[in-house]
């Protein structure tokens, strides 16, 4: 298993950089990963990250549709906050596994 150091903390990641131990995640770490992805995190980003982490902790599957129904942001804003591949980027920054969903 690979390891990476963010904000002075060493965390376990897979070969694609996704956390394998989500409990090692902190807000400071998120800021560092986001920098790597070219994103500077705002409160709105953190609202989304919190939603993703809660959903993961509850064992619920992640889909682009679940973001739209989250009541936090709509999908258009989600694409703007995490440009490119939003669900992949957001889950990486949130320190949870890459979503296995096709929708």
């Amino acid at each position: 298993m690979a390891q990476k150091t963010y904000a002075g903390i060493t965390v376990d990641v897979n070969e694609e950089g996704y956390f394998t131990t989500p409990s090692q995640w902190t807000r400071e770490i998120a800021i560092e990963i986001a920098k790597e992805e070219g994103i500077s995190l705002t409160d709105q980003h953190f609202d989304v990250i919190e939603f993703l982490r809660n959903r993961h902790n509850n064992g619920d599957a992640l889909s682009i549709r679940s973001i739209n129904h989250s009541g936090i942001i709509d999908v258009k804003t989600f694409y703007q906050l995490f440009p490119g591949a939003p669900l992949k980027k957001a889950t990486k920054i949130a320190g949870i596994p890459k979503p296995a969903s096709c929708v």
């Binding site: 682009i64 549709r65 999908v75 694409y79 939003p86 096709c102 929708v103």
Partner: protein
């Protein structure tokens, strides 16, 4: 090798209007948008039903002439059962129920998601003329009505692929 030549753009053509045909296009298209791939969806012939407002959320799946269709439990659906009035609507409703459980949205909502992420939806001009549809009949998410030539212009570029579902 895969990293050297990533898929940068997909242009998906949907020419059929059954649930499974339209969803193949929508799932592939939405998946591309989610990966940050430039996405054009082109609906033609019976596929137009997927972007006609009054029809898009009422698509059916064929219960006659569909040898892969099975009854709950796994037995093949006898063709004769398919001709019972209401059977097609019933089967289509069941399929949509199963899709809902997997968080697969209705067609109109799928178009919302795809266009929110920057995906583009187009209608085929020739098929519009043939079926006598007007622009007003189409979903507001449709970006334009294209000729074949215009479709190919939109499809240009390195790493661009055309998929016919």
């Amino acid at each position: 090798m895969e990293q050297d030549n990533p898929v940068k753009k997909v242009n998906i053509i949907c020419a059929k209007g059954a649930v499974e045909d339209v969803y193949a296009t929508l799932v592939m298209g939405n998946g591309a948008v989610m990966e940050g791939i430039t996405t054009n969806l082109f609906f033609t012939f019976f596929g137009l039903d997927a972007i006609v407002k009054s029809r898009m959320d009422k698509l059916h799946t064929a219960v006659v002439g569909n040898p892969a269709l099975r009854l709950p439990g796994g037995m093949r659906m006898p063709t004769l059962l398919g001709i019972i009035p209401g059977m097609e609507a019933f089967t289509s409703r069941m399929m949509k129920g199963e899709m809902e459980k997997l968080d697969i949205p209705p067609v109109s909502e799928f178009l919302d998601l795809i266009t929110a992420g920057g995906g583009k939806i187009y209608a085929c001009k020739l098929a519009m003329d043939m079926f006598k549809f007007k622009k007003e009949d189409l979903s507001e998410h449709v970006s334009g009505i294209l000729t074949v030539g215009e479709f190919y212009e939109h499809a240009g570029g390195v790493g661009s692929h055309i998929i016919f579902t």
